[in-house]
């Protein structure tokens, strides 16, 4: 083959390859394609994955994602209806529901993102501004379980009943935003409030409130402890007095009973001969009182010494001694 022949063959091959590559296009599991002819959309979007054919050169395949796509809102500082300033971060997931419309209205995802910023952020702002903070935080009106030890003090505002709650609020945002987005060929599949936080100045106040709440709880525990222990001490004092006085009463009773019985016994016995008792008792007393330090001054007139001067004296004047 001559050189010219080679060149012709090469040119033909390039032409054939270019035509083939322009005539075939692939659609993956995650894609959908809108075919345009000189910029004009042709027919419905191609959503079945695989190898497809189009008119080469004249037609163009515009690829869009078929999956759920991200939209992450930036943190917005919003006021609630009760004038609480909070940071709210939302996220949404959306998909290109009508690629043809999407292509016509927004051309690409970047356009969609900025439109979603407007729509979702806007609706979030509206809904939050129309509800109290508690509505966004809580989901239900369930009563808080109280810990056994730490009894809670609750803010009046936090004790308020919620009408909607977080779940219904996010549904509301989704519902309102979903009314607008079909115009752009978009379906909004979910919106969630990812984060809510107080803005810094409010947060400092909340911390102060939390500290004073805890202080109240701590003080209550302390004084409760003091009260309870004083109560126990008082109970102890009272019981001590009861025990001691009862013991005194009982001992006196018992001793009195013993004394009485003894007195009765003595009386019964001694009353048989009081004179003899007096005599015996005196004798005992003499024995007990006279010791080596005692002086005895006695007259010879005493009965005892009657025989001291004469052995006959006793017969003349005999007298029993006392």
């Amino acid at each position: 083959m001559s050189l010219r022949g080679w060149l012709l063959a090469g040119a033909a091959a390039v032409l054939v390859l270019a035509t083939l590559s322009s005539a075939f296009y692939t659609v993956s599991e995650t894609e959908q394609v809108v075919i345009t002819q000189f910029g004009q959309p042709i027919g419905q979007a191609v959503t079945t994955p695989g190898l497809h054919v189009k008119v080469p050169f004249a037609q163009e395949a515009n690829v869009f994602d078929k999956r759920w796509l991200e939209w992450n809102g930036s943190a917005n500082q919003l006021p609630t209806r009760d004038k609480k300033y909070i940071w709210v971060e939302t996220y949404a997931r959306w998909r290109i529901d009508n690629p043809l419309l999407f292509f016509q209205r927004l051309r690409d995802e970047r356009g969609a993102q900025s439109r979603l910023d407007d729509i979702v952020d806007g609706e979030t702002r509206n809904v939050i501004a129309n509800h109290n903070l508690i509505e966004v935080v809580r989901t239900s009106n369930r009563a808080f379980e109280r810990a056994e030890e730490a009894e809670d003090v609750m803010d009046e505002e936090a004790a308020r009943q919620v009408e909607l709650g977080r779940d219904k609020i996010t549904r509301l945002i989704l519902e309102r935003a979903s009314r607008v987005v079909p115009d752009y060929g978009i379906e909004l599949v979910d919106v969630q409030i990812q984060r809510i936080n107080y803005i810094e100045t409010v947060q400092a106040k909340v911390f102060d409130r939390m500290i004073s709440e805890r202080k109240r709880i701590a003080d209550r525990h302390r004084s409760e402890g003091q009260g309870k222990s004083a109560e126990i001490r008082g109970k102890k004092e009272r019981e001590l007095k009861v025990i001691e006085s009862e013991a005194y009463r009982k001992t006196q009773e018992i001793m009195g009973r013993g004394d009485a019985e003894a007195t009765g016994i003595y009386a019964a016995a001694y009353s048989r001969n009081p004179e003899l008792y007096k005599f015996l008792r005196s004798m005992d007393t003499y024995r007990a009182t006279v010791d080596k330090d005692s002086w005895l001054v006695l007259s010879t007139d005493a009965d005892l010494f009657r025989y001291l001067q004469s052995p006959d004296a006793g017969a003349a004047a005999r007298k029993p001694g006392k």
Binding site: F144, I196, M210, S229, E244
Partner: protein, 339 residues
């Protein structure tokens, strides 16, 4: 399907290469040979793939999903006709919230910064603030959905987990979160997250959601600790008072019992003595009555003979001995020494 790939084995290409070499003798022959070998190797490496034991591979042909390959060696159409995406379905995956493990070992080290603090700071149902750290363990239960349903499935999963946890914490008080409610909160958050996974149809199944450190915010922490301390103090002062009570009351009861017993003893003693004395008196009196005078005198004289010797000094005087002054040394008698 896999046997399509076996047509591109090495023998076939070596044979083609040999034939080509014979036809084009001369200087070109080596160049063609080298090209053939390169093409052959490229085909082989592009047609062969291996799936690890904890994975499955999803094969797409011209973008269309055609089959799933289990672990082991496999072949496919080369040069991008068939493509392979591997998904670790057996592996238990974990996401951390509020902290990051930098280095997991016996002594693991963690990392916390502003970004993780933003993840963990949240509002409780009583409008307080708490920091909650938690982990989620999950598996990819449906690799097809996992790959093709959401574009940023892992990042979305994190957002879902944050939203679920905040929803649940927002419905509990800070006290519940820190004490009694931990398990219930974890269970509820797992349930919400599982529901979201079903709604998003992302092919993930949540295995476990575990709360890690749950704390009041840093500036408030000391006052929370103070509450715990106050509870301890209350318990201690009550216990001390009871201890005092238990120490003193039984002792007082014992002492009282002792006094009563002693009184009983006294009474019995009195009565017995009285009885004894009475018996003695009665017995004596009976005998006395038989001979009163003699007995009386005997008793008197017996007493006197006991009493008189006991007295230290005795002075006996006679009324009839008038004028005689009885002399006795008074000083010596009373025992006062005179120098």
């Amino acid at each position: 399907m896999a046997n399509y790939g076996s047509g591109f084995d090495q023998d076939a290409f070596l044979r083609v290469a040999r034939e080509t070499r014979e036809r084009l003798r001369g200087s070109w022959r080596w160049v063609w040979g080298a090209i053939a070998v390169i093409v052959g190797l490229a085909t082989l490496s592009s047609a062969y793939y291996q799936v690890e034991p904890d994975e499955v591979a999803l094969v797409t042909r011209f973008g269309r999903f055609v089959r799933t390959s289990e672990p082991g060696p496999h072949t496919k159409f080369p040069f991008g006709i068939e493509r392979v995406q591997k998904v670790p379905v057996q592996r238990q995956l974990k996401q951390e919230f509020g902290f990051r493990t930098i280095h997991a070992d016996i002594q693991s080290s963690y990392h916390r910064d502003e970004q993780t603090a933003a993840e963990s700071t949240m509002l409780t149902g009583d409008l307080n603030v708490a920091t909650v750290e938690w982990i989620v363990q999950y598996k990819i239960s449906d690799p097809y959905k996992y790959l093709f349903k959401l574009r940023d499935v892992d990042e979305t999963f994190r957002l879902m987990a944050e939203a679920s946890m905040r929803t649940v914490v927002g419905d509990h008080s800070v006290t519940e979160l820190l004490t009694v409610g931990r398990e219930a909160i974890a269970a509820k958050a797992k349930e919400l997250l599982s529901n979201l996974c079903r709604l998003y149809d992302n092919g993930i199944s949540v295995q476990q959601l575990v709360l890690q450190d749950v704390d009041p915010p840093e500036p408030v922490k000391p006052s929370f600790n103070d509450v715990n301390q106050a509870i301890q103090e209350r318990e201690r002062s009550i216990n001390e008072a009871w201890a005092e009570y238990n120490r003193e009351i039984p002792r007082a009861r014992g002492l009282a019992e002792q006094k009563i017993e002693a009184a009983e003893g006294y009474a019995v003693d009195r009565v017995n003595r009285a009885k004894g004395d009475a018996q003695r008196f009665v017995a004596l009196e009976e005998q006395y009555r038989k001979a009163p005078d003699v007995t009386r005198t005997r008793l008197y004289l017996e007493t006197m003979s006991a009493v008189l010797p006991a007295a230290g000094k005795k002075l006996i005087f006679d009324d009839k001995a008038k004028g005689i002054l009885p002399l006795f040394p008074l000083g010596n008698a009373v025992g006062e020494p005179k120098p």
